[in-house]
Subunit: 377 residues, 2 copies
């Protein structure tokens, strides 16, 4: 199918226990949101949630178009940034919806990046015990990763995403043209998750991302569209088999065990993509030192993320010690011990009767001590 | 089957989208919790949550027995009372679990009344995006109603239970002997929900509760056991057909639209049962004045709740005006208007193509103005 702008719209179905939902990917799709809402998420009322920055860029216009289409729509905003992904802002948004008389016959429309999708999704998931959510990702990381799969949540003192829920959207509407308003650095953050998709399941895709790094970083719309599509296909394939991360879905956590620890240790100053980039390289090296991952894999990953400008030495305040302290509270832990997804090689994850595993603590300590530098405060 | 004390244990299955779960009802069952946990909710670690009062009565002993059975179990407590059913205490409990290193391989065991089940259930539902919960109700209202059906949540400024989730338990373990430590007034609060079950679906049960009111209020264990069983059967039958309250489950809200408004208007000073008792009488009268409910139904309900000592005039600070203001934010509202479940007669709910309906606002205003008195402050 094509949209009003004559661009191709591709539909990827994501299986879910709560019913399958489509991810629609197409340039210019943002213009058609009102009719897509009516088709995929009919409601008495729409609650559009954006951060203040995206509200200005896309949220206000989207609400206008909804009203032009005679939909009851209102905009709710919160301050931009990961520091808003908290129980406090979840409470504030929830109370604002209640004060506005929003009822169970409403749908939340999350317009923005990963923070918005997670925060607004968690609001929807717990509002009157759950109302539907539609994800309209406008950042590359949200399109490539966060908006698909139903994870919602907030960060707490002990770590990132430790409070939340699974709340699959009714539909995901991804318009790659919205990524043109991103900074190059923001695009790079998103492309790290694409690199991850290649690293775990598709070597050709991994290599293609290296070749296409320049146009992707520059925001070329067709290259972006193709990348979003392939990443969504990969993620949808995984999530369809294991929605709640009891099994296969764990492979999507490659790079994230150490990545989250690095991100938390940085006080969330480090972008999620940069932290995962560091985490992937570290976890590849960990696999190599254990004789599981093919020699040189860490280096290939390091080169790939360097092409995106997010590689280089890992430096956080407090250094290795602080990173190790955050590993203990990782939500992927079992029996109090962190678990790791290890690669066989680029494009293939080790399956040792499960998709994640403990590794000897001494190896983790050695690696982290060796590779993580103290950035001071 | 029988338990170690030689008492009969009855099992009622509750169908759920997340998998069926059993409600086990038997005198003395609390002694067998460790083996029941191992059987129905195997885990690396058990997080027992009670209010400070129930912790003392049952929580500490239960943790001891778990440890004797070589289960890893810890007790987490919060201050007694509905005023603890808040996002604040949900946050505090969540952080305590995180600080204690609780992981995804843990199960929350909610030991206590309705507040504990709702609060601990919501903690479990959002902890690391959801870990299992086992409900061990020790109050009559929790056994008869709150522990079955998967609803969890907290109260917020705008009203009761407005934030929460559906999170069905792995198993419900109901030991009627725990109700012997309740005050008569607490038993009465619970029996109101049993009256409701009779009022909507089973006239013979309704009449039986009137006949048995005295032994039930006195805490007769066998009468209590029989009542818990029948109420659980009724509730399980409804929830099996409609877990998420899109249809039939709405009938369980009989008495609750005005009941919640009365409860909120009282600043939660009025017990939930007393508020629902008032709500049932008011909603029966509403149905009568609309020509839907058989004449005299309100009076029958008023007599039944009077036998429990929770009847009489409705008095709240601010009176009718304050009750009406809370109706607007009821979570059962659609298009901003509150909805009501109306009886045909005792034992039968009106089905007018749906199980709840709007009624003319003027009728509600008239009835509430007529029946609700201002208690001052």
């Amino acid at each position: 199918m094509t949209n009003a702008g004559g661009h191709r719209v591709t539909r990827v179905e994501v299986a879910s226990g709560a019913g399958a939902y489509p991810v629609l990917i197409g340039r210019g799709l943002l213009q058609g949101v009102p009719s897509l809402l009516s088709e995929f998420a009919p409601a008495f009322r729409y609650v559009v949630v954006s951060d203040a920055h995206v509200a200005n860029l896309y949220g206000e216009g989207l609400v206008e178009r909804c009203r032009d289409a005679r939909l009851h729509a209102d905009l709710f905003t919160f301050p931009r940034g990961e520091s808003s992904k908290t129980r406090k802002h979840w409470s504030i948004l929830t109370d604002q919806l209640l004060d506005a008389g929003v009822g169970r016959d409403a749908v939340v429309v999350a317009v923005g990046g990963g923070v918005t999708g997670d925060l607004a999704g968690f609001v929807a998931s717990t509002f009157l015990r759950g109302i539907p959510v539609v994800q309209v990702p406008t950042s590359l990381v949200a399109m490539i990763d966060a908006s698909v799969g139903g994870k919602t949540g907030v960060d707490v003192r002990a770590g990132k995403n430790l409070v939340g829920s699974f709340h699959p959207p009714k539909v995901v509407i991804a318009d790659p043209d919205t990524t043109t308003t991103l900074e190059t650095g923001e695009r790079a953050q998103g492309l790290v998750e694409a690199i991850k998709h290649g690293a775990i399941l598709d070597e050709a895709y991994f290599e293609g991302l290296r070749t296409e790094a320049a146009p992707l970083l520059a925001g070329d719309p067709d290259a972006t569209r193709a990348t979003v599509l392939r990443s969504v296909e990969i993620k949808a394939g995984v999530v369809a088999q294991d929605e709640h991360e009891g099994g296969l879905r764990q492979i999507l956590n490659f790079g994230h065990t150490l990545g989250h620890a690095v991100e938390a240790a940085s006080g969330y100053e480090l972008g999620h993509g940069s932290a995962v980039a560091a985490g992937m390289v570290l976890e590849a090296e960990l696999g190599e030192s254990l004789g599981i991952t093919a020699t040189g894999t860490g280096e290939r990953l390091a080169e790939a993320v360097a092409l995106l400008g997010v590689g280089g030495p890992v430096r956080v305040p407090g250094g290795a010690e602080r990173v190790l302290s955050y590993l203990g509270t990782d939500k992927k832990s079992r029996r109090g011990r962190p678990r790791f997804v290890l690669l066989n090689r680029v494009g293939s994850v080790q399956d040792n009767g499960g998709w994640s595993r403990e590794v000897p603590a001494s190896e983790v300590v050695r690696l982290v001590t060796d590779r993580v530098e103290d950035a001071g405060n």
